[in-house]
Structure formats: structure tokens, C-alpha cells
Amino acid sequence: MEFSRIVDLIREKIPQAIIEVNEKAIDPFVKIRPDHLNAVARLLKGEEEIGMDMLLSISGVDYPESITVVYHIFSIKNNHSLVLKVDLPRDNPKVDTVENVWKAANWHERETYDLFGVVFEGHPDLRRILLPDDWEGHPLRKDYKYPPTYHGLTL
């Protein structure tokens, strides 16, 4: 299905969700309001015509003005993809989980939490995944300072 048709469908069902649509990018993306993310995700998966049955990845991006979480979703059934983005404030990034829509989000959200500090509300088990549980800070943020030591070991 065409990218614009998906956007229209989202506009139709959840009118206030979309902030920005970029069709010119290599992978066209839709920026949506964080509080509507879960509803949009449900719509994308549930709507027969769209049928996004697969969440490929969740990536955090640390921009100077915001932390953006990027969702790459895909439909095997209809062979089309979509990129969703949500902008979150840098000091307190919080967004609803999509774990209840795609199970794949479980580990991806844990990873984004681990490396960017984005809190996914409603996630059943939001722990660090790659780093040790007692690690401080979120290393993929641009302003991350490497700790000189970890448990007395020089890094």
C-alpha cells in the first residue's frame, strides 16, 4: 500500500496523532504525538488493510533538542513498511510501550531504555539488557561521560 494511503488512514481514525509527515525521505516517515503512539500502533497492526504484523526495530536517536524514538514496522502480509517517530523531551523521555501490540518491542524497548534512558510506560519488565544492572548513565546519549572506573576496575 502507498505511504500516503497509510497516512490518510491514520488521519482518518486518529485525527490528532500526526505531527509531521515526510514523504521525501528515502524511507518516508510519520512523526506522531507520544501520547497517541499506542493507539496508532494498535491501528496499524489491527487494520486489515495495513496489517503491520512485524516490528523490525526500535532505535533511539539523541538529537540536540529531543530524544527521538524511531519504530521501523513492516507487514509481511502486504509487503509494505512504515517508519514512525516520536519526539520526547531530553530531560524526561517517557512514552507508552508498544509491547502489548508487538512482542518484539519487549527487548528493543529494554535496549532503548538501557542506552538512551527512555522510559517505556507499561512495559512489563523494563530492566537494562546489554549493560550491567548497576551501570550508571545511558551511553548512547551524545552527552554521556565515560566513567573512569567500574567497581574499582579502570576502564
Binding site: 525521505a25 524511507d27 523490525l56 524511531v70 521501523h72 546489554l130 549493560l131 548512547l140
Partner: protein
């Protein structure tokens, strides 16, 4: 145990790994067991975390290619290919024909090598040692071929943005042909020794069934998804490179000896995929043209501002790169969508209420590589 119900004590927590022979590296599973039955198996990862994504933000696009070798270290060529294709897509580079063919040959050879390790170690997990040696014997020939091309045997660093590093050395095609002729009858050997061995089937058929909808829900890709009966292969369905020019089938799990999506199906898909790869290589060998092996590019690669997500069919599933460029010589953000990462996340779901021995079989059939899970 005064005053308490003894049933409170019948669960034993066991740590499987990070140093355990069949966790394929440094995976740690926390098992909650009731006798031999595993009630819950929780994977703990991150023991091999090398912060490759952070490193990528500090180095140039070309310098990152060797790091991709170290993701899924059993399929370094495929990782190289996926990464270079991503950057090429971002920059809109046309790759010369000959380089495209060389890339496909390398990627498919590496797919065979990777699947050989997968089925060999799967045998080890089930206690049959000999096929492992047979698989490594065949893999050795492939590694020799790679060594001819780039001098390395594990981390090749062979692909370049816009082409490949070197042209094929003289004599390569003959040796490749010899290898293919040698290899195809060997697969029959594995089938006799493993695939249709009664004990092997007893140990894998109907074990760790992964239904197609669960697989999709967890983002499982590659042979594991196909083992669940979903006919989905990026090489066919979202073609990249020159794959549309080749004839090949997509093997899917049919539940031949058990249920669709069991461990045996996942294993069997890999065995058949090796033969399909041989077909692709044979066709590529016939069609390969002469000419350049690399597109003309500036020394310092500076992609335009923008972002791109691209994924390619790796032996273990769909390897995706998400690159955000701010126009500088190094990526602003580089995210790796590792197939094993998603494939492992489904493990907790399909490993409940199996025995410890089955757990090993399920884990082996998922064929994970910790290098790309932990990154």
C-alpha cells in the same frame, strides 16, 4: 522445613551459562526447573557488548566495515554486504555489475559456511559429534576460497562502499566449481547421519514449536521464520542486489516429521537453503561479466543529510542498519537491527515446560550468534 509447605521448595534455579558448552558463546539462561522440566528460562545477554553502535559515531563510514565483521562473526560477508548496501542506498551509488556478482557469490558462500556451522553445532547440542567435523571440513574449503580473495578466514572486510576490495584472484572460479561439485553430495551424508536418524528426529520433531503468528509477533526472521511455514525471504520478496536474476526456491518448514515450526523444521530449512545457495552461485558463475569492481567514489565518504533503514537476508535472518547522516564523515547514529537479537527474544516464549535437554535443542535450532545480539 517446619511450618512451610514443601512445595515451596520444589523449584531449583540453575544458571545455564555464561560458560556452558551449549549456549553458543556467552549467553546466560536463568532456568527455573522442576526436576528435569524447565518452568521458565530467562535469557540474560550483554556479556559480549562492545558498544559497536557508539564506536560507529566516532569513525568514518569506511572504517566501520571491519566492525560489521564482528557482529555475526560466522557470516561476516553478509554483514559487510548489508552495511555497504545501506550506505549505498543512502548515497545513491550504482555498483558495477561485476562487483554485484562477486558480492552475491561471496554472500551465498558465506551463507553455506554459516549454515554448516549451524547444523554442525546443532548436532553437538544433541550429542552427535561427527557431523560437526564433517561440516567444518566443508566449511574449510569455503574459508580457503575467502582466504584467496581477501587473505582472511573469519573477519573478511572484503566489501567496500561501491564495490569490493579486490577482484577475484586467478584460479578462483575453478576452485569454486570444484567445491560446489564436491559439496552437493556431502549434504546427503548429513541427511543420513543426522536429518533422518531416528534418535535425531525423536529429539527434535515437535520440540520447541514456534507458530507463525508468534514468530512474526516477536520479529523472528530468516530460517527460523521460514521453519514456521512462512514463505518469506528478502532475496525474493524485497529483492536487493541482483537476486531477481537468479532462480531459486525458498524452503519452508512443512512439519515433515513433526509439527510445523518445530526444531527439526528449522534445521531442515537450513539444510535445504545450502543447496539453494549452491544454485545461486552456479548461476552467478555463468553470468558474471568483466569490468570494474568498484564505483568511482571520493576517498572520504560523506553521505548527504538524511536517514536510511535497509535490511538484507543474512543466514540468521534480516540484518538491518539504520543510519542517520548529518553530512559529516561519520554517522550521526547507527543502529543495528540484529536478527539473532529478535530470534532470541522468542526463546522465553517457546521454551516453557520443556526438559533441559529440549531447551538445548531449541536454542541450537534458533542458531544465535552472541556477537550480534550484544553488539
Amino acid at each position: 522445613m517446619k511450618g512451610r509447605d514443601w512445595k515451596e521448595y520444589d523449584e531449583l534455579n540453575v544458571n545455564m551459562g555464561p560458560q556452558h558448552p551449549s549456549t553458543h558463546g556467552v549467553l546466560r539462561l536463568l532456568l527455573k526447573t522442576d526436576g528435569e522440566i524447565v518452568k521458565e528460562a530467562i535469557p540474560h545477554i550483554g556479556y559480549l557488548h562492545r558498544s559497536i553502535e557508539k564506536i560507529a559515531e566516532k569513525i568514518s563510514y569506511t572504517q566501520f566495515i571491519p566492525y560489521t565483521d564482528r557482529l555475526d562473526y560466522l557470516a561476516a560477508m553478509n554483514n559487510n554486504l548489508a552495511y555497504t548496501l545501506t550506505v549505498e542506498k543512502l548515497m545513491g551509488i550504482e555498483v558495477p555489475e561485476r562487483a554485484q556478482y562477486i558480492r552475491v557469490i561471496m554472500a551465498e558462500l558465506n551463507r553455506i559456511a554459516s549454515h554448516l556451522v549451524a547444523i554442525g553445532t546443532f548436532g553437538l547440542d544433541l550429542g552427535v559429534v561427527t557431523p560437526f567435523f564433517y561440516a567444518f571440513r566443508e566449511r574449510e574449503y569455503i574459508l580457503d576460497l575467502f582466504e584467496m580473495c581477501c587473505g582472511a578466514r573469519l573477519t573478511y572486510n572484503y566489501m567496500r562502499i561501491g564495490g569490493v576490495a579486490n577482484d577475484l584472484p586467478p584460479g578462483f572460479m575453478d576452485r569454486l566449481k570444484d567445491f560446489l561439485d564436491y559439496f552437493v553430495p556431502r549434504v546427503e551424508e548429513y541427511n543420513q547421519l543426522m536429518s533422518f536418524n531416528k534418535i535425531f528426529i525423536e529429539r527434535t520433531a515437535g520440540i520447541g514449536v514456534l507458530p507463525a503468528d508468534v514468530a512474526k509477533n516477536y520479529g523472528v526472521t530468516g530460517p527460523n521464520l521460514r521453519g514456521s511455514g512462512v514463505k518469506w525471504d528478502l532475496r525474493k520478496n524485497l529483492p536487493y542486489c541482483i537476486y531477481p536474476r537468479f532462480e531459486f526456491n525458498i524452503p519452508v518448514g512443512t512439519g515433515m516429521v513433526g509439527k510445523v515450526g518445530d526444531s527439526w523444521d528449522r534445521y531442515w530449512v537450513r539444510v535445504q537453503e545450502m543447496l539453494e545457495s549452491v544454485k545461486i552461485i552456479r548461476q552467478a558463475m555463468e553470468q558474471i561479466p568483466g569490468g570494474d569492481i568498484r564505483a568511482k567514489l571520493p576517498r572520504l565518504i560523506k553521505p548527504p543529510v538524511g536517514e536510511v533503514f535497509f535490511r538484507a537476508e543474512n543466514p540468521r535472518g534480516e540484518l538491518g542498519f539504520y543510519i542517520i547522516s548529518d553530512g559529516s564523515p561519520s554517522p550521526y547514529r547507527l543502529k543495528i537491527r540484529a536478527p539473532s537479537f529478535c530470534n532470541l527474544s522468542v526463546f522465553e516464549e517457546i521454551s516453557r515446560d520443556w526438559m533441559i535437554a529440549d531447551l538445548v535443542a531449541i536454542l541450537g535450532s534458533l542458531d544465535i550468534v552472541l556477537g550480534e545480539i550484544d553488539r
